[in-house]
Symmetry: C2
C-alpha cells in the first residue's frame, strides 16, 4: 500500500498533505522558540534575584558570616544562581538542538518537495503534447477517409453514367485510387501515433507518477520521523539537566541542615564577652573609723553602684555618681574649716 | 556557656544581635516571596503558551488528529500545560509554607523579645532606685557623724575653758551625747540599706538578668532553627513536584515515540483513495470499418486522453476535449450531407 498505486489520481491531495505536513513542523519550531524565550526570561529573573540577595556584595551592615544561619542563607542564594544557570542551559539546548536544527532540515525538505512537483508537471505536460499529436493525426485520418469514400462514390457514379466519356471515368478512378492511398497512409500514421501515445500513457500512470508520488511519501515519512525526534528532544533537554538541578536542591537542603543554633550562640559569646567579673558587694564605708579622703580615694577601685548594663546612656554611669559624692566630701570638709574658727 | 553568664554585661550586644537575627528572617521571607512571584509568572507564561498552541481550539484548517504526528503535538502541548500546573503548585506552596508561616512566627518572636527587654529595664530601674536610697542614707550618716564629732570637740573645749560655767559644760555634753546618738542611728540605717542593696544587686546580676539573657538566647536559637527549616522547605517544595514533572517529561517522550510515519501514510490513503482504475490504452477508431456516431457515442465510456491528474484546472479536463471532438464529428457529418447532393 503506497501513494504511488493507491493515490495515483490524487495529486492535489498529496501536494496539499505534504504542504500542511511541513507547516506542522514550522508550527512546532515556533512553539519551541516561544518556550525557549519563556525559559530564558525565567532564568534571567532567577539570576537577578540571587544577585540581589548575595549580601556579600553589600558589605555594609552585613551580619558576620560566622553565623551558620547567615552563611546558609548565602548558600541558598548561590544554589539558586546555579539553578538559574541550568535553566539557561535548557533554553540554549532547545534553541540549538530543536529550533535551529529543525529549521535547517525543513528547508531541505521544502527544496526536495518542490523538485518532485516540477518533475510531475513535466511528465504531465509531455503526455498532453503527445495526446494532441495523436488527436490531430486521428482527425486527419478521419477527414481523408471520408474524402476517399466521396471520390470512390463519384468514380462509381461516373462509371455508370451513360453520358460520361471514357476519359471522365478514367480520371475519376485515378482520383479515387489516389485518395484511398492517402487515407491509407493517414490510417497508418494514426495507428503509429496511437501506439506511441498508449506506450507513453502507461509509462506515465504506471512508472513516472507512481515513482514521484512514492518519493513524496518517503519525504513525508522522513518529515514525520524528524518531527517525532523533535518531540523527544524537547523532554530530553530538560531531563538532561534534572540531576544537576537535583544537586542544587540538595545543596539548599544541606544549607538548611548546616545551620547550628548552638554554634551561633557561641559565636556571639566569643565575639563579645568582656571577661569582667560581675560586681561584688558594695563595701561599708565606716566614717566612725575615721575614714579619710585618701582611703575613700582608693575605695574608688571597687564599683560604688550598679553599672548601667542596659546602657541607655553610658555617659552618666554610676562611677560618675561616686566621683560626684567624693567632691561633696571635700566641699563638706571646706565648710567645716570655715565653720571652725 | 550561655549568654546569661558569659555576656552578663553585654545587654546592648544581645539586643542588637537578636534584632538583626529577626531581620535576617524578614530578609529570607522577602527573598522567597520574590522567587514565588518569578515562579507564578513563569507558570502563567507556560499556560498561555500551551493555550495558544492547543490547535483543537482553532477548529478551522486543523489537520486531522488521526495523523499521529499531529496528535502527538497536541500531547506535547497538553503535557506542557500540566507542567505549568506543577510550577504553579511550587509557587503556592512556597507562599503558604514559607512566606506566610514564617511571617506569623516572626511576629510571635518579636512580641516575646520585646517582653524580655521590658523585663530587663524594669529590673535595672528597681536596682537603680535602691542604690539611690543607699547613697542618700550613706551621705546622711557621713553628715551626722561629722556633726557629732564637731559637737564632741566643742564639749571638750568648753570643759577645759576656765571661764565656762558648769551649765555651759553640761549643755555642751548633752548636745554631744544627743548628736552621737543620732549619728549611731544613721549608721545603722546605712548598714541596713547597704545590706538590702547588696542582696538586690546580686539578685540582679546572678539571677534576674542571666535568666532574661538566657530566655533571649533560647528565643534566638528557636529563630535560627525555624529559619533552617525554612531553607529546607525551599528545596523540599520543588523536590516534592519533581516526580510529577518527570511524568510530564515522560509523557512528552511517549508522544514522540507514539508517532508512526507509516500510520500517517496510510491515513492519507484511507481518506483519499478514489478506487478508480488507471486509464487503459486508447482504442483505435477505424473509420474504414464504417464507424458511426452511436458507436463513437458508446466509445465515450473509455477515456479519450490523459485525465488532468495534476488538476491545475480541472475545468478543461480531457473528457471535455473528447466531447468537443465528438461535436466536431457531427458538424463534419453535417458538412458531408451538405456537400453531397
Amino acid at each position: 500500500m503506497d501513494w504511488g498505486t493507491e493515490l495515483w489520481d490524487q495529486y492535489d491531495i498529496i501536494e496539499k498533505h505534504t504542504q500542511s505536513g511541513l507547516e506542522l513542523v514550522e508550527k512546532y519550531v515556533k512553539f519551541v522558540k516561544e518556550r525557549t524565550e519563556i525559559e530564558q526570561n525565567y532564568a534571567k529573573q532567577l539570576r537577578n534575584l540571587s544577585k540581589k540577595y548575595n549580601l556579600k556584595r553589600s558589605g555594609k551592615d552585613e551580619p558576620d558570616s560566622r553565623f551558620s544561619s547567615y552563611q546558609s542563607f548565602l548558600d541558598v542564594v548561590n544554589e539558586m544562581n546555579d539553578y538559574a544557570g541550568q535553566r539557561e542551559l535548557i533554553a540554549e539546548n532547545l534553541m540549538m538542538n530543536i529550533c535551529i536544527d529543525l529549521t535547517k532540515y525543513l528547508q531541505e525538505l521544502k527544496q526536495e518537495r518542490k523538485m518532485y512537483l516540477i518533475e510531475a508537471k513535466r511528465a504531465q505536460q509531455s503526455l498532453e503534447s503527445t495526446y494532441k499529436q495523436l488527436d490531430s493525426s486521428k482527425k486527419r485520418f478521419e477527414r481523408e477517409w471520408r474524402e476517399a469514400e466521396r471520390t470512390a462514390q463519384y468514380a462509381e457514379k461516373t462509371d455508370q453514367d451513360l453520358n460520361a466519356t471514357k476519359a471522365d471515368v478514367e480520371k475519376a478512378k485515378q482520383q479515387a485510387h489516389m485518395r484511398s492511398h492517402v487515407a491509407e497512409e493517414c490510417k497508418n500514421d494514426y495507428a503509429a501515433q496511437l501506439q506511441k501515445y498508449n506506450k507513453e500513457q502507461s509509462q506515465f500512470y504506471f512508472n513516472e507518477m507512481p515513482l514521484i508520488f512514492n518519493k513524496l511519501q518517503d519525504l513525508d515519512e522522513r518529515r514525520v520521523r524528524k518531527l517525532a525526534q523533535g518531540y523527544i528532544l524537547f523532554s530530553d533537554t530538560e531531563r538532561h539537566v534534572m540531576p544537576i538541578i537535583g544537586k542544587c536542591l540538595e545543596g539548599i537542603t544541606k544549607a538548611g541542615t548546616n545551620v547550628n543554633d548552638r554554634n551561633d550562640t557561641m559565636v556571639v559569646i566569643e565575639q563579645n564577652k568582656s571577661g569582667f567579673e560581675r560586681p561584688g558587694d558594695v563595701e561599708f564605708e565606716d566614717y566612725s573609723q575615721g575614714i579619710n579622703r585618701t582611703s575613700s580615694e582608693s575605695s574608688l577601685g571597687t564599683p560604688k553602684g550598679p553599672m548601667d548594663i542596659l546602657g541607655r546612656n553610658r555617659s552618666k554611669n554610676f562611677w560618675l555618681f561616686s566621683k560626684k559624692s567624693k567632691v561633696r566630701y571635700s566641699t563638706l570638709g571646706l565648710d567645716l574649716c570655715m565653720t571652725l574658727p
